[in-house]
Amino acid sequence: MTGAVRSPWGPIPEGVLCDFVDGESAHRHEVYVQVRPNEAGLSLSYTDDTGQAQTWTWPLSHLRHVEGQTKLRWGPARLGVFTNVLTPTARLYVRDTVLLHDIEARAPSLRHRAPVTGRGRLAGLIAGATGSVALIVFFLIPLIADQLATLLPIEGERALGEKTYQQVREAFSGGFVPLGECADEQGLVALKQMETKLLAASTLASDAVQLTVLDFDMINAFALPGGRIVVMRGLIDAAETPDEVAAVIAHEMGHVDHRDPTRHALRSVGTFGVLSLVFGDFAGGTMVLMGANQLVNAQYSQAAESAADSYAHDMLPRAGISPGALAPLFERLKADYGDSEGLASHLASHPQLGDRVTRAQSAAESYVDDGMPFMSNMAWQRLRQICD
């Protein structure tokens, strides 16, 4: 038994017995509650410790529901929790259904909330946090990543590339078996031949690049840290001549020369950490998937793309290929997919494709063909069957 000791001979106040706490002490009182419509109030009476009968009135307009406590139940019945706007830590617990309905019907502002304060502060915080995170993601992390990428030794770069290569193979497989490497014996010989020839024409060391073909239906090629260049089968299928494939690879070799993939991989390490922080744990696995995706659809900066293009335009003539070799492929893709088609055709989705075609064609103007094919027709046919 809790509450005040009531004299058995004292008068029993009228009203419904309810639990009441005043918000000042942890002592719980038993009060008799009555709605008094004439005074627009709720009278609460109880006998205090000294045996004195106490009554006071809460104006009905001061009554409030306690936020989030409107749907409580006590067994089969409802449990109403009320407070007074002037004593917001006080609580009146009403278990009597009739009284509860009466109060809810008569009290006019049960659902009023205190006005929201600090909107300005909140807006400032959101702006500040967004700004800081943007600064970190778009400025600080790229800055540090660019510095570190030039310092990373080649063994480290290769290990990083191997890691991302496995991630890419897993991310695009959909199932449990990683995406297959195309390994037709004669096809591999043709691929090696292409690799050697292109490397000889480039400024790169003779072991700086390894070409790999993955059995996937995407018109795409991308460079990974450490010099692995992955060509998707879709690209070889879409190309009409070996020169077109070689021109795409030459562009990727430009990225390898400028260490763009390493920068990009290091950048994404920092960026993913921050992004998974922002979106919380619930998207953890998805972030990995999206990360691998982003890596493949590597959107290097416009400057990096132009630099890789220039690199390709410089080296292609040395390999006996016109720098304009890219143009027909791009134009066919553009006709098929439009200027931007996203995931399905990364090459076609590069911004300002038209510009790049124009630049490739102008670079090709000064090129004089020596009449020697870059690759024999037989080798080209074998390369096309590398995935069979």
Binding site: T89, V133, L277, L343
Partner: protein, 415 residues
């Protein structure tokens, strides 16, 4: 006469289920940003379900303060995690051509941060919890707590887990002795040696695992095949030790909680817990079976509906029937005549993954967390209720950054 005050629990599952479903859906739709409000609503529900001596506990935290706290923590942590992760991964690849070292160092760096964040989070939650209109509170001491915890952790490590019960007790005492109900400071009585007995089986299992690992390493170095019979026993032994260890550790957690609760006092008010390990074990066991069952059924239902939508949109998938979603997700239903493109495949894979995750968390909340919470509450009794009248209100603790840091590390404890 000392008053014994029992705890009632309003434990129906249906309102909780509907609350967790719609808040979880909103969280996903808002890319996770609703989670602060979701947590607030769930806590309100969990708190007010518990009624020591007929008066419900009250959670008065707000979603918006969790959100702002998170924003503040975000800036600090984004800097820390972004830059530190980058440098660690670089160093790890540069020195070892591997990334495990980076993860290891990151984990070691994260340990103190986790203790720091969890203390701050507790302080926030206590400051927003009320019973009989009176606020709880936890003194600000996150820094000292972190240092203290590191010391305890060190002692535990060098004794190979032997002093783990001491750490459990001392950390709980650190927090309890700084906890207030109104003006009344709580006190953690008892002794850490009281936890040794329930911990012994855990320690033995742990040492067996260590011994087996050590033996395996030694065997691989020595290549002594005389002991090959012994080597054949090792996998069996380690499996028994791992499962035994987990079982006994679960038991230890329950027994330790009961011991600590029974030795907590707030002035003349004391606590008695009769939490039962077999009951908790059963609640977890049955709860996870139900959770997995319902998650599977719900995910299948969603995949079935999604398959219907896919077949209507892409007639080429008709042969897959109900499995069209699966075929699209794993790539076998992509790119053909009348089949969707790769983007659609990725989208559906993410959709199914997210909805499965969502269902799991919702059902786990309903079938595991809440029943266990209910059991702990139902078995809790307050003694010395007549002393409560001496306890007065305490001032509001702003606990400014709420649980921002803990939020970032997903340290929301139960909920």
């Amino acid at each position: 006469m000392a008053q014994l005050l029992k705890t009632d629990v309003e434990g129906r599952l249906v309102p909780l289920l509907s609350l967790s479903i719609w808040t979880a859906v909103l969280s996903v739709v808002t890319l996770g940003f609703y989670r602060f409000w979701m947590k607030t609503l769930l806590r309100r529900h969990f708190w007010s379900a518990i009624r020591p001596d007929r008066t419900p506990l009250e959670y008065v935290g707000k979603g918006i303060e969790k959100f702002t706290g998170f924003l503040i923590a975000l800036v600090i942590l984004a800097l820390l995690i972004g830059v530190v992760a980058l440098i660690l991964v670089y160093a790890s690849f540069a020195l070892f051509q591997e990334e495990y070292e980076a993860y290891l160092i990151a984990a070691v760096l994260a340990i103190p941060l986790i203790y720091f964040a969890s203390y701050r989070a507790k302080r926030y939650v206590y400051a927003r919890t009320r019973w009989r209109g009176i606020r709880f509170g936890l003194e600000p001491a996150a820094g000292r707590y972190t240092a203290y915890a590191m010391g305890q952790l060190f002692l535990t490590l060098i004794t190979m887990g032997g002093l783990w019960p001491r750490m459990t007790f001392k950390l709980e005492k650190f927090r309890t002795d700084r906890t207030f109900f109104g003006t009344q400071r709580l006190n953690q009585g008892g002794r850490w040696t009281g936890l040794i007995k329930p911990f012994l089986p855990v320690l033995i299992s742990f040492w067996v695992i260590l011994f087996v690992i050590g033996g395996a390493v030694w065997l691989s170095v020595e290549g002594d095949f005389v002991l090959s019979a012994w080597a054949g026993l090792m996998p069996l032994l380690s499996i028994v030790a791992i499962f035994g260890g987990l079982f006994f550790y679960t038991r230890y957690r329950v027994v330790a909680l009961r011991y600590m609760t029974n030795h907590k006092t707030a002035g003349g008010v004391g606590l008695i817990s009769n939490a039962s390990f077999p009951r908790i074990f059963w609640l977890n066991f049955a709860g996870y079976i139900l959770t997995n069952l319902f998650t599977t059924l719900a995910s299948l239902a969603v995949a079935g509906v999604a398959s219907g939508v896919l077949i209507l949109a892409f007639p080429g998938l008709r042969d897959f029937g109900l499995f069209a979603t699966g075929a699209v997700s794993d790539g076998s239903g992509l790119g053909g005549e009348g089949m969707p493109s790769a983007e659609v495949g990725v989208f559906f894979a993410i959709f199914i993954y997210m909805s499965t995750l969502l269902f799991f968390s919702v059902f786990r909340q309903t079938f595991v967390l809440f029943p266990v919470w209910r059991h702990y509450a139902e078995t809790l009794t307050l003694t010395g209720g007549e002393h409560l009248r001496k306890i007065a209100q305490r001032a509001r603790d702003e606990a400014g950054e709420a649980e921002g840091m803990a939020e970032a590390f997903d340290l929301g404890a139960a909920i």
